[in-house]
Amino acid sequence: MEKSRKAIVLQSSPYLVWSILFIIVPLFMVLYYGLTDEEGNFTLANIAAIAQPEQARAFGLALLLSLAATAICFFLAYPLAMILARRRTGERGLVTTLFLLPMWMNFLLRTFAWMTILEDGGVLNGILSSLGLPAVHIINTSGAIIIGMVYNFLPFMILPLYNSLASIDGNVINAARDLGATAVQTFFSVVLPLTVPGILSGITMVFIPALTTFAISTLLGGSKILLIGNIIEQEFTLTYDWNLGSGLSLVLMVFVIINIVVSGLTEKREEVHR
């Protein structure tokens, strides 16, 4: 017993060292900077700064855009995942690869590509004008940021949904039809409830990176639209106010944790209910 415990500690030591060095220590550094001022005295001012108009606006906008992107991802991904889950195993591989293919390219490169597409003189407007349609101004708007978020994070919604849909026994759906339910009734009373765990993890995996992004908003929102991620980035890279940057990060982290806890609790309740 004693020996096996030692063995476990020994085997996990690289992971432990890694977590301590690159996760625990940085977290405590953020916590330290966030709760102190430049002289190192304890303060809550960095956290309270979220209430200032500029920060509050950036935070509100980030929440709004990431919620919108999450919702769009969900409504795009669910039908897609259903189609995928219905394919035979052989075909699934190909379709899944097609959806994951973009993820093999660098995230920034993909977002740069969207800049070229959405620019005022870009690919999209080129196509529109060749069709004789009026040009649209998308780049540097909230819409462009949402498009970027949806494009980049859609696979993270599809995969968990696909996994939970594919794990439903086809006869469970047949049983619902057999008992008199229409296709629509079957979807809402059987399929949707059975995929709640997939929905929750899909939402978490899209919402959190969307809420905290600064790259997408920098590239597709220009310098005009600031999300909370941009503000934090600027505190670290432009104004060198690490204390304020850390304080705002802590606020963001609390939101992320709330999201994870809520979805975790819902999932657990589902399981207890089972």
Binding site: N171, V172, A175, A176, D178, G180, H273, R274
Partner: protein, 364 residues
Amino acid sequence: MKKELIRLDHVSKSYDGQMILDDLSLVIHENEFVTLLGPSGCGKTTTLRIIGGFEKPDTGKVIFDGEDITDLAPNKRQLNTVFQKYALFTHMDVGENIAFGLKIKNKPQSYIDDKIRYALKLVNLEGFEHRMPESLSGGQQQRIAIARAIVNEPKVLLLDEPLGALDLKMRQDMQYELIRLKNELGITFIYVTHDQEEALTMSDHIIVMNQGYIQQEGSPEDIYNEPENAFVADFIGDSNLMKATFVRDGLVRILDTDFPCVDKGFGDMKPVDVVIRPEDVELVSRGQGQMPGVVSHVIFKGVHYELEVQAGGFEWLVHTTKFFEVGTEVDIRVDPFNIQVMNRPASEDEEAISPEDEPPVLQE
């Protein structure tokens, strides 16, 4: 004659170019326990799924109570299915599972509550309303699946190998339960299985299938005692299946020995197949019987001994309550009544497999 309830009319179905059902026609009567019996891949489950509405036949019609329901969606059919591996709704408790079909039909809550209690009582699971399906044993889940189906008062209950996932003891108990249920409900059961014992125990009417064709149908006694071809004889129960020559009416030559039989009309000196059940082979002292043999193997089976006897170059399977030492010299004797003569298919295209083929292998 009982009233006809379901008729399959020249139904064919293939997947990816592979023929599963080929021009299948059958009739199922009201208030019968009908079993579709056959090895895996024989088309029995596909037949059931076509009746249930989960598959559309490529050609042919499904007639239910005089009405063509070939294109009717499963939710519009007056029948319910008990699926393989239960297919319960894991996000609902037992009560909600049973209530599912009734809620869809907007029945009043008091009616639904009564029905849940009635159905749970019927399957001997009173008080299980608020349990979750995954907390139940396989046998209990299967009972819930049955309860969930029968509260809708279907005219026909389809059962797709419902006992396949249960252990032997549970399976035997459930067989009796199903017979009792069928009698109490007074509805038609269509039961799919590859287990011939299950089929013989429960059915009023057995339809033996192989490779998309009906091989034989009839009562369990008919199927067991009068198999029409080598496949049925081999698939149902243990048997001694041999090639033989039908010398003339009342005489058949098996392994170069002439045996009197009761069959007639196969044609003089025609090649036939014969089947003799192991319990119908009598072992008598040397000189008293029809063919000399030597006991080569003895296994004690509880109720009887299972013997192998070498006689006429064939390994006879014999069931007897009397013990014989290995090496005992005996004679084989068979009552004419117990020799079942069958037509031998003329070619491979015909429905039956010939006796020198491997016996069907059950892959489930």
